[in-house]
């Protein structure tokens, strides 16, 4: 039984997504809205956590990958829209899924491009380079008419629902958690803890860093696609540096390297965003203060690092 626990968790998560989808008609639009945004944020935070938390490569470019996925998938569904309008629903959903996947793959290609310079850079330098990459992606979109330029893309078919959102969120959590919980995956953490020692223990740190970026960017791309097909409108400004910071805040509050903590922080911050909607201008100030104070008194994150204490040898 014990050995299949990861598989069981995956199935349970997917079943919960189906259940959520089934009760969706009973929920009002506002609740669905919050659920979907929370799910998208979970995907973003958990995937960024693989890069920033587990592998220790501080990336500030997650919004760029999100944009890559959002635009790729939206262009595909917008192109197919006339044909899909009269097609049966399952075909539309299949096309949507393919478009999401294409977006994720393109984003992971971008992640590969960012991962490569990361091999030579550490810490704060890497943060600035990833920020730069994210901004380059945004500038390119802004100046490409086929992508709507600064005006953005409108009329994206609203295919995103709770099933897709939480299905993908479950897969993202499963992938990151089971990846890190294997002998192979402990390599990610060793890279974060001490790169030189990791190399000396036979760990190919290059491969791990690039893998983290590619996988992290893939899920950011999926999240971008989900977001685009939920809001129906995307513009380059929505994927600027501040959006990346939003995700970074979730990872830091949740505790870098703790998948449950980070997922919880994603949900918490989504709720806070909604509750503080009337106090919009104070929201970011509160987050900023929280970051500063947290780094002084509790750098391991608000929700602690459950995982660090729990990380044990598997029992016989």
């Amino acid at each position: 039984m014990k050995k299949h626990i990861a598989h069981l968790a995956l199935v349970a998560g997917l079943a919960a997504s189906v259940a959520l989808y089934a009760i969706a008609p009973q929920l009002d639009d506002y609740a669905v809205n919050i659920f979907v945004l929370a799910g998208i944020n979970i995907i973003l935070a958990v995937s960024l956590n693989l890069v920033n938390g587990h592998t220790g490569q501080f990336s500030l470019g997650h919004a760029g990958f999100m944009a890559a996925g959002a635009y790729t998938s939206s262009i595909i569904t917008l192109t197919l829209a006339p044909a899909l309008a009269s097609a049966p629903a399952w075909q539309a959903q299949a096309a949507f899924f393919s478009a999401l996947l294409a977006g994720g793959l393109f984003a992971s290609f971008c992640g590969f491009l960012v991962g490569v310079p990361s091999l030579r850079l550490r810490g704060d330098y890497l943060a600035i380079v990833t920020l730069g990459f994210g901004e380059i992606i945004r500038v390119v979109i802004q100046n490409t008419n086929a992508l709507g330029g600064a005006r953005g893309l409108e009329g994206i078919p609203p295919y995103t629902n709770l099933l897709w959102t939480f299905g993908i969120a479950t897969v993202a959590i499963y992938v990151v958690a089971s990846l890190v919980n294997s002998t192979y995956g402990r390599g990610f953490i060793s890279v974060r803890d001490d790169e030189i020692a990791a190399e000396a223990m036979g760990i190919n740190t290059t491969k791990y860093k690039v893998a983290a970026f590619v996988i992290g960017a893939f899920f950011a791309g999926l999240a971008g696609g989900l977001y685009a097909h939920f809001i129906s409108y995307i513009a380059p400004e929505g994927f600027n540096f501040l959006k990346s910071v939003d995700v970074v805040v979730m990872v830091i509050l949740g505790g870098m390297g703790s998948t449950p903590g980070v997922a919880a922080a994603a949900v918490l911050l989504t709720l806070m965003n909604e509750l503080l909607r009337d106090f919009e201008q104070y929201r970011m100030i509160v987050f900023a203060l929280l970051l500063i104070i947290l780094m002084i008194v509790r750098p391991q994150g608000l929700l602690g690092n459950f995982q660090r204490r729990k990380r044990k040898a598997p029992q016989p």
Binding site: T183, I189, D193, A200, M201, G202, N204
Partner: protein
């Protein structure tokens, strides 16, 4: 007997400053060699050259007949050279168990995909690794600490764990960088026993860089002495002890300190 490790005319310069010059030396399989010398003689630099941290300016290094030129550190480890660090470099957020398990990474058959599908072959390999790690920890009396965070261990145990972690990579040559640093005399005696034990149990060669003469003399069959990046003497511990050049190099240092 053919050489396990062979350095030929290895030179390392840092921006015109010569840290190691035209160094020749070799290690036979299962041999215990000491590398000694006063402060700044270039011992750690030699370590870093062998393990691929630095790329030598000139010269050839061969291990088991394979050139180590331009090989990355992790490839060199995979070939069978493992090391410990002068300033302990354990993976601080990982447990004792995971520190050792991670070092088996280079010999893994599973990768990303298998970690995700978690099929029978993956589980069998994880089970085998778990057994190997626990067995290894048991040998060194660290099994009960398997679930503790590595950096929570007492200092001596951390040193021991670093050796265990290095052994987990499956080396033919183990490089120990000042393992006795910061140890009291009792701990040093136990360290010497430990090194002998490791060499006999795992039948590997050991290259020891050490400041403490008693440890080096007590452990090594052959000693290489460096001074200012040059090899000034080589021989058995007894011969080295009597070598006037060595005495001068060390006395010179002490005179300097005085």
């Amino acid at each position: 007997m053919s050489d396990l490790l062979k350095l030929e005319r290895v030179t390392m310069e840092f921006g015109g400053l010569r840290a190691v010059g035209d160094l020749d030396f070799h290690i036979a399989p299962e041999e215990m060699v000491g590398l000694i010398g006063p402060n700044g003689a270039g011992k750690t630099t030699v370590f870093n050259i062998i393990t691929g941290v630095y790329k030598p300016t000139r010269g050839a290094i061969r291990f088991n007949g394979v050139s180590l030129h331009d090989k990355k550190a992790n490839r060199i480890t995979a070939l069978g050279i493992a090391r410990t660090f002068q300033n302990i470099r354990l993976f601080g957020s990982l447990t004792v168990f995971d520190n050792v398990r991670t070092a088996m990474n280079g010999r893994l058959r599973h990768g990303i995909i298998h970690s995700l599908t978690r099929g029978p072959a993956f589980r069998a390999e994880e089970e085998r690794i778990r057994g190997e790690v626990l067995a290894l920890l048991d040998i060194f009396g660290l099994k009960d600490d398997a679930d503790r965070q590595a950096t929570d261990l007492p200092y001596g145990d951390q040193r021991r764990l670093e050796i265990v972690r290095a052994l987990a990579t499956g080396p033919k040559l183990l490089l120990l960088d000042e393992p006795a640093a910061g140890m009291n005399p009792t701990e040093k005696v136990r360290l010497m026993e430990l090194i002998h034990f490791v060499q006999e149990k795992f039948r590997i060669a050991v290259l020891l860089v050490e400041h403490d003469m008693r440890v080096v003399m007590g452990v090594c069959q052959r000693i290489v002495v460096l001074d200012h990046g040059q090899k000034i003497a080589e021989g058995t511990p007894q011969a080295i002890q009597r070598d006037p050049k060595v005495i001068e190099a060390y006395l010179g240092e002490e005179a300097h300190h005085a």
